[in-house]
C-alpha cells in the first residue's frame, strides 16, 4: 500500500534547470514546494572537486553524471511500421541524472532564439509562400513572442552569469556581437570569454570568406559574478572539463551552483532525492491533478498530494510522465490527431575537423564549455531559403570545450586505425587539430513522435518511452548545404587536411554517434489545444494545475542550443503562475 503524505502547495518533478527555476519562483510566491529528483544528491563538492573530477574515463566514458540506463531508457525505431529497440548504451544523447539534471554536466552554451523561429510556420508562409513547407512537416508557432520572452532571457542570463558580447541594446549598436541577434534590454552580465587559438583561426577565416563572426554567449563566467540570488561564481580558467563534468572552478552555471544555495535558505522548500515519480495522479474526472505517486530509495510507493504539479524533468521524461498519467490525448501519427508525443525533434549536426602541421598549436585541451566563435550567416532565416528549397539553418562555430584523448582524439582521413602507424598519427594530430560544428536545426514531422513502447519496460515495470524518428529530405538538404558553406571557412585556414562529417541522403538516424542531447518537443506549446499539449504559459490544456516545463515545449528544433530558451520559458511560465494562476486557479487560456 502506498503511503500518503501531508499535502503541499506544489510538487516539482525533476530538479534540473526548469525544476530549480520553478521551485525558486514558487517559494518566492510563498508556496510550500517539494521537489522530487529521481537521482542522488550531487554538487560541485564533492562530485566535481579537484582533482578527482579531472577523470575522463569515469565522467565521460563511463558517464558518472549521466542517466542510469540500467533503470530506464527509451526505445528507438526509424519509422511507424518498425520495431523499436532499446537505447542500451549512452551514445547519441546524454541526459542527466541526480540533482541539477543535465544542467550539472552541460557545456554552458547559452543562446536566446531568433524571433522568427518562435513563429516559424507563419514566418515561412509569409516570406516564401504556403507551398514552401513540405508535406508532412508539422512545424508550428510557439504562441509566444520574443518581445514577451525578452525580460526572461535577460533575467536568466543574470542568474547564469552569462558572458558574451552584445550587438544591439535598446535599439543601439553597442558592440561587435552577432549582427543577426535580436535587440536586448541590457548587455550581457559579463564580457565575452577570450578566444582560444582555434577560435582565433576560425574568426579570421570566417572574416576572409565574408561571414560575420561573434563571440558565443557562454554560461561560463569570464570574471567574478554575483547573481540576483546572491550566489557567487568565479572566473573560468579554461580547464576544459565542462561537458560531462561538474565545474570545480564554480564558473559554469548549474542549478546546483546558481539556484540551489538560495533555495536552501527557504523553509518553504524541500528537495527529496532518489524519488522516482511514476505518475501524476488525477481526480475522478481527469480534469485536476491531486499530486504524484513516486517510489523512494527503499522501493516504497509514496503519494505526495499537491495543489499544483510542475512537470520539469528532461524533455522525454516529461512526455513519458504525461503518457503514463493520461494527461492529454496521445498523438496518433496515422490520423495526425492527439497531441502528447507530437512533434518530437532533435539537432542536426555536421562537423569538420581541420588538421594542421606541427607548427600550428591548437591545444584542444584548453577550452571552455560555452565559449568560442560562431557565425550566424546561415542560421535561422538569415539567408534566402527561396532558391534552396529547405527549411532551417545552422550556426557554425569553433566551440573548443576541451577535448581529451580517450574520446576527443581524431586522426586525419587515411590514418592507420591501430599499430605503430596509428601511434605516429596520434602524436602528430592531437595538439594540431581543431573541430568546427554546423549545429543545425531539425524540423518536426508527422511521423517523428513519441509514445509508449509495447514491449520494453523500465525498472519500475512501466513501459519505456518509444521514439519514432528519422532524418527527412529537408534535413539532408539543409545540413549538406550549410556544411558546404562551413567548408569555406575550414579551407580558408589552410589546413593540411580536413575531414567532413555530414549526413548522406538516405542515411538513417544513428544512435551510436553523439548528436547532442538537444531532444525537443512531444509536449509542445501553442495556441490551439488540437495541435499543442500545453498553452502559451506551458499549462496543460487538459489538466489546468499541471505545468510542463522544458524543451518538451518546443514545437520544432532551432539552430541554437536549447537551454537558454528553456530557462526563459521557465521564468515566463512562473510569472504567469504567480501573477495569474495563483489568484484564480483555472485555465489561463480558454480553449
Amino acid at each position: 500500500m502506498a503511503t500518503t503524505l501531508k499535502p503541499v502547495n506544489a510538487v516539482v518533478v525533476g530538479f534540473g534547470w526548469a525544476g530549480s527555476i520553478l521551485a525558486k519562483e514558487l517559494t518566492e510566491a510563498g508556496l510550500q514546494v517539494v521537489a522530487l529528483e529521481r537521482g542522488p544528491h550531487q554538487d560541485t563538492y564533492p562530485d566535481g572537486a579537484y582533482p578527482n573530477t579531472l577523470d575522463e574515463l569515469t565522467y565521460n566514458s563511463r558517464g558518472k553524471l549521466f542517466q542510469d540506463l540500467s533503470k530506464s531508457t527509451v526505445s528507438i525505431r526509424h519509422g511507424i511500421d518498425g520495431t523499436a529497440l532499446p537505447y542500451r548504451q549512452l551514445s547519441a544523447f546524454l541526459p542527466g541524472n541526480g540533482v541539477g539534471g543535465a544542467g550539472l554536466h552541460w557545456s554552458g552554451v547559452h543562446f536566446r532564439i531568433m524571433p522568427e523561429e518562435l513563429r516559424l510556420r507563419s514566418h515561412y508562409e509569409e516570406r516564401y509562400g504556403k507551398g514552401f513547407i513540405p508535406e508532412g512537416m508539422t512545424i508550428q508557432d510557439y504562441g509566444v513572442s520574443y518581445e514577451e520572452l525578452e525580460p526572461h532571457f535577460d533575467f536568466a542570463e543574470k542568474v547564469f552569469g552569462t558572458s558574451g558580447t552584445a550587438y544591439k541594446v535598446k535599439g543601439q549598436v553597442v558592440g561587435d556581437g552577432n549582427p543577426f541577434a535580436p535587440d536586448r534590454s541590457d548587455n550581457f552580465p559579463l564580457p565575452a570569454l577570450k578566444d582560444v587559438y582555434s577560435a582565433q583561426l576560425f574568426r579570421k577565416a570566417a572574416e576572409e570568406v565574408g561571414m560575420r563572426p561573434y563571440a558565443m554567449p557562454a554560461a561560463n563566467a569570464s570574471g567574478p559574478w554575483t547573481n540576483p540570488y546572491g550566489v557567487q561564481m568565479g572566473p573560468c580558467n579554461f580547464c576544459g572539463f565542462c561537458s560531462g563534468y561538474a565545474c570545480y572552478m564554480y564558473s559554469k552555471a548549474s542549478p546546483n551552483l546558481n539556484i540551489l544555495p538560495a533555495l536552501k535558505q527557504s523553509e518553504l522548500f524541500e528537495l527529496r532525492v532518489n524519488s522516482n515519480v511514476l505518475r501524476v495522479n488525477l481526480d475522478s474526472d481527469g480534469k485536476r491533478a491531486t499530486g504524484v505517486t513516486y517510489v523512494d530509495a527503499q522501493g516504497r510507493e509514496i503519494v505526495q498530494p499537491a495543489d499544483l504539479v510542475i512537470v520539469s524533468a528532461f524533455q522525454f521524461h516529461n512526455v513519458h510522465l504525461m503518457l503514463l498519467s493520461g494527461i492529454g490525448t496521445p498523438y496518433d501519427p496515422r490520423t495526425g490527431e492527439g497531441v502528447v508525443g507530437k512533434n518530437f525533434a532533435y539537432q542536426n549536426m555536421a562537423t569538420i575537423k581541420a588538421f594542421f602541421d606541427r607548427d600550428v598549436h591548437t591545444n584542444p585541451f584548453i577550452g571552455t564549455g560555452g565559449g568560442g566563435v560562431a557565425v550566424d550567416d546561415f542560421n535561422a532565416d538569415n539567408f534566402d531559403h527561396g532558391p534552396l528549397g529547405f527549411v532551417g539553418g545552422s550556426p557554425f562555430w569553433v566551440n573548443q570545450a576541451g577535448s581529451k584523448p580517450i574520446r576527443g582524439l581524431t586522426l586525419p582521413p587515411g590514418s592507420p586505425s591501430w599499430g605503430s602507424g596509428w601511434k605516429q598519427a596520434a602524436k602528430d594530430a592531437y595538439t594540431h587539430t581543431l573541430s568546427m560544428d554546423a549545429h543545425g536545426s531539425n524540423m518536426s514531422y508527422r511521423d517523428n513522435y513519441l509514445d509508449l513502447d509495447p514491449t520494453y519496460k523500465d525498472a519500475y515495470g512501466q513501459p519505456l518511452l518509444r521514439m519514432t524518428f528519422d532524418w527527412k529530405e529537408n534535413e539532408y538538404k539543409m545540413t549538406r548545404y550549410v556544411t558546404e558553406q562551413m567548408r569555406k571557412i575550414a579551407e580558408a585556414m589552410n589546413p593540411k587536411a580536413i575531414a567532413v562529417h555530414v549526413k548522406n541522403f538516405g542515411e538513417h538516424f544513428n544512435t551510436r554517434a553523439y548528436q547532442t542531447t538537444h531532444l525537443l518537443g512531444g509536449a509542445i506549446m501553442g495556441s490551439d489545444p488540437k495541435t499543442s499539449a500545453v498553452n502559451r504559459y506551458l499549462q496543460s490544456w487538459d489538466v489546468h494545475n499541471v505545468f510542463v516545463i522544458g524543451a518538451s515545449a518546443f514545437p520544432q528544433g532551432t539552430g541554437y542550443n536549447p537551454t537558454g530558451l528553456v530557462a526563459a520559458l521557465a521564468y515566463w511560465s512562473a510569472k504567469a503562475i504567480r501573477e495569474q494562476y495563483l489568484k484564480n486557479p483555472g485555465p489561463l487560456v480558454q480553449a
Binding site: 537505447y87 542500451r88 598549436h361 591548437t362 580517450i406 599499430g419 605503430s420 601511434k423 544513428n510 551510436r512
Partner: protein, 236 residues
C-alpha cells in the same frame, strides 16, 4: 615494423609464460590466476589478474602489444599497463554491463544504427570472444594467438577488425571493438585506473592531464610547455 627493439624481450616472456600455462588452465580459472601471478614478476609488475585466466591474460598482453606497440615513439600498451587496466575495468559495474539497459528481448540481427543489441556484456565479450578466437587460431595455425609471429598476429587482428572471421559464438568485430576501445582507454585514462603508467599515453600526444588551469595559455597558439600530471600528483 618499428617495434623490433622491444619485440624479442616480450616475446620471450610470452613464450616462457605459455610454457607454464597449458598444464594449469585445465585445472580451472582459480588455479590459472595463481599461475599468472607466479609469472607476473617477469612483466615487472606484481599485478595479478582477477578476471582473466592465464590463457586470456596471455592473449590480452599479446594483442594489446600489437594494437599499441612499443616503438620509436615510446612505450606501448603493455608497458602502459593496459592489460591491468582492462582486467580491473571488468570487475566494475561497466564490465558487468550494469551501466547498460540489458532487458530482453535482444535483437541480434538489428541494423548497426541501433547500437549494441546483444545480450553480451564486456566480461562475456572477452571470455567468449577470446575462447572462440583461440579455437579458431588453433584450428588454423595449431598455435594460440600469443605464439604467432607479429605479422600473423597483425593479420589476424585486421581480419577481426573487419568482421571477417567466423568465430561462431560472437561477431568478430565485436571482440575487436571491445578490445581496441579498452586499449585506448587504458592508454589514455588517468593512471588511477591502472593504465597509462608513467603517463606515457599523455606524453605521446601532448595532453597535460590534470593540470586543468590554462588561464595564461588561452590565446597563445604556442606549444604548451609543461609535462602532464595525474590526479595523484605524478609527473610525466
Amino acid at each position: 615494423m618499428p617495434d623490433d627493439k622491444t619485440f624479442s624481450g616480450r616475446r620471450d616472456f610470452l613464450r616462457k609464460t605459455l610454457a607454464v600455462i597449458p598444464a594449469i588452465t585445465v585445472a580451472g580459472y582459480g588455479v590459472a590466476t595463481t599461475a599468472a601471478s607466479q609469472a607476473a614478476p617477469t612483466l615487472q609488475s606484481p599485478y595479478r589478474p582477477r578476471f582473466f585466466t592465464s590463457a586470456e591474460w596471455a592473449f590480452v598482453n599479446a594483442a594489446v602489444a600489437r594494437l599499441i606497440p612499443s616503438d620509436a615513439n615510446g612505450p606501448g600498451a603493455v608497458e602502459a599497463g593496459v592489460p591491468e587496466f582492462i582486467d580491473r575495468q571488468l570487475e566494475t559495474a561497466y564490465g558487468h554491463g550494469n551501466l547498460w539497459y540489458m532487458q530482453a528481448p535482444f535483437a541480434a540481427d538489428a541494423a548497426p544504427e541501433f547500437g549494441h543489441q546483444l545480450k553480451l556484456v564486456p566480461r562475456d565479450i572477452y571470455r567468449i570472444g577470446i575462447a572462440a578466437l583461440e579455437r579458431w587460431c588453433q584450428s588454423q595455425h595449431g598455435k594460440v594467438f600469443a605464439e604467432l609471429e607479429p605479422a600473423g598476429q597483425d593479420d589476424l587482428l585486421r581480419q577481426l577488425e573487419g568482421g571477417h572471421l567466423d568465430l561462431q559464438d560472437l561477431p568478430s568485430a565485436l571482440l575487436f571493438g571491445q578490445l581496441w576501445q579498452n586499449t585506448r582507454e587504458g592508454f589514455f585514462a588517468d593512471p588511477i585506473h591502472g593504465g597509462n603508467r608513467g603517463l606515457v599515453g599523455w606524453k605521446l600526444v601532448g595532453f597535460p592531464g590534470a593540470r586543468a588551469d590554462f588561464m595564461d595559455w588561452v590565446d597563445r597558439g604556442e606549444k604548451y610547455p609543461f609535462p602532464p600530471v595525474s590526479i595523484s600528483g605524478e609527473r610525466g
